[in-house]
């Protein structure tokens, strides 16, 4: 064995140094936020970064991130490089992690504020929830995010109320910036009986290497309802690590829509804890991966309380040298009797060089539960293609229509029409690309 420092250790050290230096040059902000950052830094220093031998990172080597030269952290630039989805939303832009402009939102049901501008009451709310949903050791990039914590955005939906519009958070970087990372933080607190929708859009147009490391913590109080969108359509060289950590109380409902195309590397962790009876979550995902892109969805649903339901459907199409990883875990705790959990992951592999690694995992410690899971990797059905052709439809068009049919069942679950149209357009471009490849 070589005694040279391995690249992971080196990268770990470099990350730590960068995070530390970053913290030292920050202006003195909120005392408790500094303390959180310091805690994150200590945790990050002590942990081990995952290697290829780490099961949860087996198919997504962080070596790709190591090579990305993204250690430089940056504060807000002057001009965002991306706009969000057009629609009837309260749109706020996080530019390099900082809230670009204080949004003028006049909605009695809603507060959207940067941590730094939070009122005392809001600060208490943030303190009570920040960094509470995940273990640092299990989530190295969440720990890195915590160790660079400077600011974030709080979305607070008040009890028994419903904002007039969905909130859209646009995660953008400065135009022309390259070789750097931003560590964004979103905290969503949905009070008892409230109902709302939050979109997070990641829509870069820059061609330079950038990394974005985003954590969204979401709390649903009793009988509340939240629909959350995570729409990733980054440019080719972009690296994205992100996590959504959700805690649900009794009777709450959480729906999440994931959509991903492009990007050098995307790793998203979604963790949902069903903590009170009759909490319900629905998780949908569609990924369309071509070129050299790589996407990795790791989901974990914890049925902690009894009588909860979860439904999870992820579908993907992978072509060229694209690579997709899906790992879905359902954990039914001992007291979670009468749980009902369904999970499915279906993949279409269009070329010999494309790759899919899918792994559904069930851990069940209660005896009265209903659980089902399934994973498939296949190709477009030859007989179906032939059927189209015998009706005068070209093979290329048949490819496009069958791909669309495969994915649309997931996209169709999106309940905001402008968003549905937006992702359909992205998807159409992807099918067009596949169609050109099939010629």
């Amino acid at each position: 064995m070589s005694t040279r420092t391995n690249p992971y250790q080196e990268f770990h050290q470099d990350c730590f140094n960068a995070a530390k230096a970053w913290g030292e040059q920050l202006p003195q902000g909120l005392h408790w936020l500094n303390a959180e950052r310091q805690l994150g830094l200590e945790q990050f220093e002590q942990m081990q970064l995952p290697t290829r031998k780490t099961e949860s990172w087996k198919y997504t080597p962080i070596a790709a991130i190591v090579q990305g030269n993204i250690l430089q952290l940056k504060s807000a630039a002057d001009k965002a490089n991306a706009e969000g989805i057009k629609g009837d939303f309260y749109t706020v832009t996080l530019l390099n992690g900082e809230l670009q402009s204080a949004p003028e939102i006049e909605d009695a049901a809603l507060n959207v504020v940067p941590f730094a501008n939070a009122s005392d009451e809001q600060q208490n709310l943030i303190k009570a929830h920040l960094n509470k949903t995940f273990g640092f050791q299990d989530h190295p990039f969440a720990a890195l995010n915590a160790s660079t914590l400077q600011d974030g955005v709080l979305i607070h939906i008040k009890a028994d109320s419903k904002p007039l519009k969905p909130v859209q958070i646009v995660h953008a970087n400065g135009s022309g910036d390259e070789g750097f990372s931003s560590h964004n933080r979103v905290l969503i607190v949905v009070e008892r009986g409230a109902k709302g929708t939050v979109l997070e859009t990641f829509l870069d147009i820059a061609s330079k290497v950038q990394m974005r490391n985003v954590i969204s913590e979401i709390f649903l109080a009793e009988n509340s309802h939240l629909t959350h969108y995570a729409l990733n359509s980054e440019s080719e060289q972009h690296i994205h690590t992100g996590a959504v950590f959700v805690e649900q109380q009794a009777g709450s409902q959480f729906v999440e829509h994931n959509f991903a195309t492009g990007g050098a590397l995307k790793r998203r962790d979604i963790q949902i804890k069903l903590l009170g009876p009759q909490a319900d979550c629905k998780l949908y995902g569609a990924y369309l991966i071509g070129g050299q892109s790589h996407v990795d969805y790791h989901t974990a649903i914890d049925h902690v309380a009894p009588h909860c339901t979860s439904e999870e459907v992820f579908k993907g199409i992978v072509t060229d040298q694209g690579k997709a990883v899906f790992n879905g875990r359902i954990h039914i705790h001992r007291d979670a009797q009468q749980s009902n959990a369904n999970m499915s992951n279906k993949n279409l592999l269009l070329t010999n060089t494309a790759e899919v690694n899918t792994k559904p995992e069930l851990e069940i410690y209660a005896d009265d539960v209903k659980c089902a899971h399934g994973a498939t990797v296949g190709q477009l059905d030859e007989m179906s293609l032939y059927y189209f052709q015998t009706r005068g439809i070209s093979k290329a068009d048949a490819h496009r229509m069958l791909s669309h049919a495969f994915i649309e069942t997931v996209l169709d679950e999106m309940d905001i029409e402008t968003v549905h149209e937006h992702v359909q357009q992205s998807a159409e471009q992807f099918y067009q690309h596949c169609q050109d490849c099939a010629k």
């Binding site: 059905d381 059927y387 009706r391 069958l402």
Partner: protein, 254 residues
């Protein structure tokens, strides 16, 4: 219109067609009968160009063109239509979307204007009525959850929309009750005209009571062993295939 000469074809290294010759002229209806495994379905798939159906000898010309050189979609655009024995279910693609794409692909190939949505829908509603299917079927996924009879009627409906010059019907009558059989036959008869031809592949004589063929051929062991007029089908019904000195193991039951 269609001229098949000494056709040999194999599927997965198994020779199925062994020197088949057939001549079809506009306006004619040919019924092809024969025991299971004689190559009836293979013939229809070779004509419509299915992958894996390899022609090893012989030739097929269609309006003077070498048919075997054409892609399946171009054969369809040139006017060949295959009604499947087992129509494929395509969840997520509606019947209407499917048919409209098909129709416009064909029109485009022929240098015709695409049909606008309203005219298309009007036409589709008219044709679906001809096969006694509820217009609601237009919005459903192609054949998705259709019964056997509904699938066959949907095939005929597609045929009526696309108005082929040469229709190949692969056991379209199998699994149909008498009402559905009549509906299917009416659909085919509606299409009959002096410039169109039909090749009916069937196990049973009974369809031929409704679609009266000009010629009946017996296909056995990859070749046509006997041809005749309509009366040949009746003779087959009466005597089975035994009197033709062919392998009678799996002769059809009427």
């Amino acid at each position: 219109m269609l001229s098949i000469k000494n056709l040999y074809a194999r599927v997965e290294d198994k020779d199925i067609l062994k020197g088949l010759t057939l001549e079809v002229k506009p306006g004619e209806v040919h019924a092809i009968m024969g025991p299971n495994g004689s190559g009836k379905s293979t013939l229809t798939h070779v004509l419509s160009g299915r992958d894996g159906y390899e022609v090893t000898e012989g030739e097929v010309t269609y309006f003077g063109k070498d048919l075997l050189e054409l892609e399946p979609e171009d054969r369809a655009r040139e006017g060949i239509f295959l009604a499947f024995q087992y129509p494929v279910e395509i969840p997520g693609v509606s019947n209407i979307q499917f048919l409209r794409t098909a129709m416009n692909s064909i029109r485009k190939y022929r240098g015709e204007e695409e049909l606008d949505a309203a005219s298309f829908l009007k036409l589709a509603r008219q044709k679906i009525g001809m096969v006694n299917l509820d217009p609601a079927f237009l919005k459903r996924g192609v054949n998705e959850g259709f019964s056997g009879g509904e699938k066959k009627r949907n095939e005929i409906m597609q045929m009526l929309m696309l108005e082929p010059k040469l229709a190949l019907l692969d056991e379209t009558d199998s699994g149909l009750d008498i009402d559905a059989l009549q509906t299917v036959a009416n659909g085919v008869n509606a299409l009959r005209s002096p410039d169109r031809a039909v090749i009916l592949v069937t196990h049973y004589q009974r369809l031929l009571n409704y679609i009266v063929p000009d010629y009946v051929h017996v296909l056995a062991n990859g070749r046509i062993v006997k041809s005749g007029g309509r009366e040949l089908a009746l003779e087959l019904e009466e005597k089975g295939y035994g009197w033709l000195n062919i392998d009678d193991d799996e002769k059809s039951v009427v």
